[in-house]
């Protein structure tokens, strides 16, 4: 609204524009908006359309990250709609749909749960086995329990991710 007003007054001479811009800054400072209307810090949750970072060495994930087109989360397989460490997500990567496991989250975590600087995923196939052969960043130890609990005797087995990890935190 304010920007509309500003453009309307642009034609009426420099003086008026000066006055208005100073008013706008005052209002702006009171509202607390800078570049946009958001005044609170983002929560950094993993929801649909969130960009993620592939941390395994699969050819698909590596090429997507190198091209600067990181995968996008298009579904989270839990009832909350927000992804947490160890949850399974569906990602759109290079025009394909792939499943992945979240191995680190950027949002604020509970005590003793590591908070990562990026939202990390490891790509998996339908049977739960990873597409890559190595993970080059640390993964939380709580995944040991969570992935074991998620695995089913005759269904998907997610524990192979633990085998390709290089370091636990």
């Amino acid at each position: 609204m304010i920007s509309c007003a500003r453009t309307r007054y642009h034609n009426n001479g420099d003086e008026k524009r000066e006055l208005l811009s100073s008013e706008v800054t005052k209002v702006w400072s009171r509202v607390g908006g800078g570049s946009g209307l958001h005044t609170s810090a983002p929560r950094q949750e993993i929801r649909k359309m969130a960009r993620l970072r592939v941390v395994d060495n699969s050819a698909l994930g590596k090429s997507a990250m190198l091209e600067g087109r990181p995968p996008k989360c298009i579904h989270i397989y839990n009832k909350r709609g927000v992804g947490f460490t160890g949850d399974k997500v569906l990602v759109a990567i290079k025009g394909q749909k792939k499943q992945a496991i979240l191995t680190g989250c950027h949002q604020d975590q509970k005590p003793l749960v590591p908070k990562f600087d990026s939202n990390n995923i490891v790509l998996i196939d339908e049977t739960g086995s990873p597409l890559g052969t190595r993970i080059h960043v640390p993964i939380p130890t709580m995944l040991r329990k969570k992935l074991t609990d998620m695995s089913r005797p005759k269904g998907a087995d997610y524990t192979k991710i633990l085998a390709i990890a290089t370091r636990f935190i």
Binding site: T25, S29, G34, A41, G104, Q109, K110, P111, L112, V113, P114, K115, F116, D117, S118, N120, H136, V137, P138, T141, M142, L143, R144, K145, T166, R167, F168, I169
Partner: protein, 298 residues
Amino acid sequence: MVGVGARSGAARLFGVLQGLCRETWGCQARGVATRASTRVLPFIPTQDPDVIRKVPHDFRVVYPEFLPNPVPEWRNRLREKIERKDMLARRSNMPIPEFYIGSIMAVTVADPNAAGKTNRFVGICIQRGDSGLRAWFSLRNVIDHQGLEIKYEMYSPLVQNIEVLRLEKRLDDELLYLRDALPIYSTFPSDMETEILQEGAPVPVNPIKVQLKPRPWHERWERKNLQGVRDLGLPERFYKKAKLHEKPWEKYDLMKEYRATIPEEEQADIFREISSHYPLLESTRRRGKRKRVLPSLS
């Protein structure tokens, strides 16, 4: 520590105000007090000047979690008293060393999922908060080019050991800007050795100024008046806007300071209560410092 004189002045002012209010409002104020669901034990200030003098002047800096949160709605003097007892009991089992924001620490926790059932994490303390048994601190480190932060509750029974590898302070009260700094500033080797500090020496302040990555950042750091950061290199409009958000009058706001702190008299009262444990607390501190001296001798 800063503005203690002003602090007690404000306390006196508040006392006068309270008295005036009680006279004018009378029964109304009393009615509110009785209706409140949580009962707050009355505070009886200590009269003995010797006791006040005996409290080591740096206790409120070294053990900030012994001072309760000053928000009046959350005060409950009985609960605070019991919590302090539990804290001392925990400290007698597992010594918690003196540390500050910017100190490099190693924490060992019990972790059923880790190999060996324990998990050790080394990092720089970037934030600490809360009081009583809920006191916590956050450590940050960069491992395999991946920034990591872990929050620890100081009095959690899962915490097995807290070591201070390098005891030092930084120029700022919170180091959250390390998230937006170059990774080199928060990288510490996990096999770092404990560094030496002379016994009785003051805690050194590290005057390092970190280089931030270019925007976008997690917060608008130009508005935070950071001391430990190199020139942010932003266009002039950012600093103009930061100027508009400045609140230079807040440091003169006595009532704001009053609400944000525990009165000096009450602090003395709290530290008098734990005074029987001074030898224990002090010996932990000294032992920690002496341990840092020993490796140089050997």
